[in-house]
């Protein structure tokens, strides 16, 4: 068994997928921010030039990570976590407000978004906590502690307000589940989401009656097994309570813009001008791509800047328009391969910390991918989170790069763990 360090021991499949994604991503930013009248390529007024700078600095960070001792991350994970939470809290007095959210530290003309790094810190902290020999995820006490590790950054991010970024913390359900949390949480989670959506589509009264009917039918069918009456009644009551309260929250706690976003996706409202505009333009741009796309810098919607936020959250629509079904399909395939490769490598980890961290990375990238592409293609409500490695932004790019390369580093060390 080799004990030597060699570059060859890093997973090249992951690195190649990463390079492929950031290359396509950068070209898309180039298209989306392309301005025929711009003077020079190297002017930092161009978003694509800036992004190139972030990518270059990202490579420096990669080298740094790969040269650190692999035990560093496990050892310092708590510290990193605490620093990260503090940086989030410091946003409240010191942060800069951009587009209504106080999510950035401003350093001269550059801004840094700590929430992009908090994901990494949380993943490390969760991995550290769950891999501790004293932690038993089957116990309610440790479950609550694990939830707390996840919930603290999310709860700090929500009031910035940046609920989209907070949603990402749902990704940590995947490592928790992998490590043995009860399947009941999965059922509970799935039921909550299903009931939530159904409530928005139909009146809560119908939902409650429907749940009650199903419960009665099941009860009658299982009568001979003497089922627990109160369990059935409890579930029906819980569901009814939930659906009525969702309805109440939706109508009274949510703001109109949130309601609109859900209503458009659920097809209850057709609005192509105000709130649905982004999604509609994005769908038009993607649809305009056809099989093979309009060609690089040839997308009419992209060069005409019809899709708002196209260089950040809606970057995938530029891929769709200029590279067509073949190009955007390829990007979907690359993401799926990346995530599957991370899962596959995680399963190979002998070290519990590495495995949990790997699952967290896969989960985080997956949630971003699913929510972002879902939104851009009109399958999900408008939730503003970036597409990893694609969306413009230094913090986001570095956050994902650090997230991935810590895993590559941990995986590279797998062979000389023991």
């Amino acid at each position: 068994m080799s004990t030597g360090r060699s570059v060859g021991s890093f997973d090249w499949a992951l690195i190649l997928l990463y390079l492929a994604l950031i290359s396509i991503g950068w070209l898309s930013i180039y298209s989306a921010s392309y301005d025929a009248t711009a003077e020079t390529f190297f002017s930092l007024d161009n978003l694509h030039t800036k992004q190139l700078l972030w990518i270059g600095l990202g490579f420096v960070i990669i080298v740094f990570i790969l040269f650190l001792d692999s035990k560093f991350f496990e050892r310092f994970s708590s510290l990193i976590y605490v620093v990260s939470i503090l940086s989030l809290i410091l946003l409240f007095p010191l942060g800069k407000n951009i587009n209504g959210a106080t999510s950035w530290f401003a350093l001269g003309s550059f801004t840094l978004q700590p929430s992009e790094f908090a994901k990494v810190a949380t993943a490390l902290a969760l991995a550290k906590y769950l891999s501790d020999i004293q932690t038993n995820i089957k116990t309610l006490r440790d479950q609550l502690r694990a939830f707390l590790v996840i919930a603290i950054p999310a709860l700090v991010i929500i009031p910035q307000p940046d609920p989209g970024s907070a949603l990402v913390y749902a990704a940590f359900f995947f490592p928790l589940y992998r490590e043995g949390i009860a399947a009941g949480y999965l059922i509970l989670g799935a039921s909550v989401v299903t009931l939530f959506v159904l409530t928005l589509l139909f009146s809560p009264l119908y939902i409650a009656l429907g749940v009650a009917t199903i419960a009665i039918l099941l009860f009658l069918r299982n009568r001979k097994k003497r089922p627990a009456k109160f369990l059935y009644i409890g579930i029906v009551l819980a569901c009814s309570l939930f659906t009525f309260s969702v309805n109440y929250i939706f109508e009274n706690v949510f703001q109109q813009r949130h309601r609109d976003r859900f209503n458009i996706v659920l097809g209850k409202e057709a609005d192509t001008q105000s709130i649905g505009y982004n999604t509609r333009q994005s769908e038009i741009a993607i649809g305009n791509g056809g099989w093979t796309g309009q060609g690089f810098l040839q997308g009419t919607q992209t060069t005409g800047k019809f899709v708002p936020e196209q260089d950040t959250d809606y970057i995938f629509s530029a891929v769709g328009e200029e590279w067509g079904f073949l190009g955007s399909g390829l990007v979907v395939v690359l993401f799926v391969l990346l995530i599957l490769r991370i899962i596959q490598l995680s399963e190979k980890q002998k070290n519990e910390f590495s495995r949990i961290y790997g699952y967290s990375v896969a989960g985080i990238i997956f949630i971003h991918f699913a929510v972002n592409v879902g939104m851009v293609t009109g399958l999900m409500p408008t939730i503003g989170i970036p597409l990893p490695f694609f969306s413009y932004g230094g913090s986001g790019f570095w956050g994902f790069t650090i997230l991935l390369f810590i895993f590559i580093k941990l995986d590279g060390n797998r062979v000389n763990e023991w």
Binding site: I284, I286, N288, K305, F325, T377, L379
Partner: protein, 638 residues
């Protein structure tokens, strides 16, 4: 199991996205056109439409500027509807209706509110427009007619309709297209090529540069001017002569096939179909189901040719060698060919030979001649087919291929047709069943255009050029090649001389002896065509159509003419007179016989046309039989 959750969620999400992308990009194509609308701005440059001149270089049709008030509904700011509707000279309700229509069409694309305003209306409106945001004035070019006649062959331009837009990529909604006449026939030459420039827009509708480096752009090309073969003076004169009459005059130059005049009566001022009143006027013309001004009787009217056909009967018989110019036929008031009533004839000297037969228009002579022609063959079927092939060589029984978009083929009956009519072979039919053909009265139908064409072929002694109205296309300096190919008839040249002599004698001492033109040797043939209509389902005979064909001079002919006057009674009465003075007008430039001219100008047939509509019984042909005494009285009038 636990290992599979994320794995399966990732895979199914990937598949879901692939499906969604396939749906958006490949299956649902609506985005493609939608995006063309909002990201690409297309600017059209409509070139000036080509002008139309007559054969002498007289300008007939040019262009005038017209103005449309356009609106982009989304850009409208609140405004005073009352004052704007006053400016536009429309009611506020109408303005609101138009705005609603525009909004329904598209909130972001321009729609016309008021179309084709004149220069004066525009001048008044122009300076006020800045007060009304979202409205703008678009200039376009309309036809400006320098003449108030010739609408039937000029045609008109109108906004292109959806059917054509769907068929032809060139046209976009709101474009103008030529309809009818030379405007339709030479549309592509007259319109030129519309310039198209594409620009890439951004989301604020600002142009940010050319689209696809201008690869799809088209440079505008001016419409070409065209010169017609029409002689505007002659055309105008012909239309004046046809006032209060229905029918048509068509004159061509035999040596070239050029159409000198194409008069359809009643006609209308071409300027009626220009501008704001266009559709109202068109509806009015179209709704006139009695005089049918939009029905071009010269090109679309199919009539029995009547006696002028006898010239063809003669030529075919000569070519077939079944008669000699010296053969005599006795006419005793009609041709008897069986148990039935004879084919009647009017009073004239008897016996007749070929030349006098034509001059006196003797029915018996031609019935006999026709019968010999058909009976030369073993079966009447064979004979009819041979007869038909001769006639077809004169351009009869088919669309002639002239350069106007309307027309009718006429009819030269085939053996097959008679077989069907008489239920052959169960029943047989003989030549006598078709005997009316001999005098142009049976199944034979021709348009006046076809009549003038065979007249020209006779004048040329056996050939013709396809009649055409195009004389020259500026820049091209040529006309379509089919009008430069000599069409040969199946009749040998030597057979024409006796027939032409007969046609000349029509004027010398025949049915048109009072219509000679001083100093010009003229050849012609009268025709009196029986006709009938159905009134309340009952067949009713009407006063005969007056038909006349002529050419002049006899040698080296310059003009061939066919005149057709509905219910004008016998051939020389209207047709002959009109033909005679038209020829004089063309050859001499003026009409010396003012009394004759006056007679035509002052006589109206409106009363005659009103008869079948009166609901009362009415006599036809003035209740008189044509007799020598009657004709003499009639001519006394002059």
């Amino acid at each position: 199991m636990r290992k599979l959750l994320l794995l399966s969620v990732v895979l199914s999400t990937g598949l879901l996205f692939m499906g969604r992308l396939f749906y958006l990009q490949v299956y649902d194509t609506s985005a493609t056109t939608l995006s063309e609308n909002n990201a690409v701005k297309t600017i059209y440059t409509i070139p000036q439409r080509g002008r139309i001149y007559d054969r002498n270089g007289k300008l007939l049709v040019s262009n005038q500027s017209s103005y449309d008030l356009m609106v982009i509904p989304r850009e409208i700011k609140p405004f005073d509807t009352i004052s704007l509707s006053k400016l536009l000279n429309i009611t506020p309700e109408k303005l609101k209706k138009e705005l609603k229509r525009a909004r329904n069409f598209s909130p972001v694309l321009p729609s016309p509110i008021v179309s084709t305003m004149s220069q004066d209306e525009y001048a008044y409106l122009g300076e006020q427009m800045r007060k009304y945001e979202g409205f703008f004035i678009q200039k376009r070019s309309l036809r400006d007619y320098q003449i108030d006649f010739g609408a039937n062959f000029l045609g008109y331009i109108q906004e292109v309709h959806q059917g054509i837009i769907n068929r032809d990529d060139y046209y976009k909604s709101g474009d103008l297209i030529g309809r009818q006449g030379v405007e339709e026939q030479y549309e592509e030459i007259l319109r030129g090529v519309k310039g198209v420039e594409h620009f890439q827009k951004d989301r604020f509708s600002r142009v940010i540069g050319p689209y696809k480096e201008g690869d799809l752009d088209i440079t505008a090309e001016e419409g070409k001017n065209i010169e017609l073969t029409i002689d505007a003076e002659l055309q105008k004169y012909g239309e004046q002569l046809m006032v209060n009459k229905r029918g048509g005059i068509v004159a061509i130059e035999p040596a070239t096939g050029e159409i000198l005049a194409l008069v359809a009566a009643p006609n209308y001022d071409p300027a009626l179909l220009v501008g704001r009143e266009r559709s109202k006027n068109y509806t009015r013309l179209d709704a006139d189901s009695i005089s049918k001004p939009l029905f071009d009787r010269v090109l679309q009217g199919e009539y029995p040719p009547g006696s002028p056909f006898k010239a063809l009967t003669s030529l075919i018989a000569l070519q077939e060698g079944v008669i000699d110019t010296q053969d005599k036929v006795y006419c005793n008031g009609g041709y008897r060919y069986g148990g039935k009533k004879p084919l009647g004839c009017h009073h004239h000297k008897s016996p007749v030979q070929l030349i006098s037969g034509i001059a006196y228009s003797c029915n018996s002579y031609f019935a006999s001649t026709y019968r010999s022609t058909i009976d030369k063959y073993n079966t009447p079927q064979e004979g009819i087919e041979k007869w038909r092939s001769h006639l077809e060589s004169f351009g009869l029984g088919n669309f002639m291929g002239y350069d106007l978009p309307t027309g009718r083929p006429g009819l030269i009956p085939s053996a097959k047709r008679y077989n069907r009519t008489y239920n052959y072979p169960t029943y047989h039919w003989g030549t006598t069943a078709t005997i009316s053909n001999a005098i142009g009265q049976g199944e034979v139908l021709m348009t006046p255009m076809q009549m003038v064409n065979f007249t020209a072929a006779i004048a040329n002694r056996g050939w013709f050029y396809k009649p055409h109205i195009i004389k020259n296309i500026t820049g091209a300096d040529t006309i379509p090649s089919i009008y430069r190919e000599k069409q040969m008839t199946t009749i040998d040249p030597q057979h024409f001389e006796p027939v032409i002599q007969g046609l000349n004698d029509v004027y010398n001492h025949g049915t048109a002896s009072t219509l000679k033109i001083p100093g010009i040797e003229i050849c012609g043939k009268t025709g009196t065509a029986e006709n009938s209509i159905r009134i309340n389902g009952k067949k009713a005979q009407l006063t005969d159509h007056s038909v006349f064909v002529a050419f002049a001079p006899k040698d080296n002919p310059k003009i061939a003419i066919a005149v057709f006057v509905e219910n004008g009674y016998w051939g020389s009465r209207y047709g002959g007179r009109i033909a005679s003075i038209m020829i004089e007008k063309y050859l001499k430039g003026e009409v010396t016989r003012k009394d004759l001219e006056n007679w035509v100008l002052t006589h109206s047939l409106e009363e005659e046309y009103a008869k079948p509509l009166s609901g009362k019984p009415f006599p036809i042909n003035d209740g008189k039989k044509i007799s020598a005494k009657f004709l003499a009285e009639e001519n006394q009038e002059l």
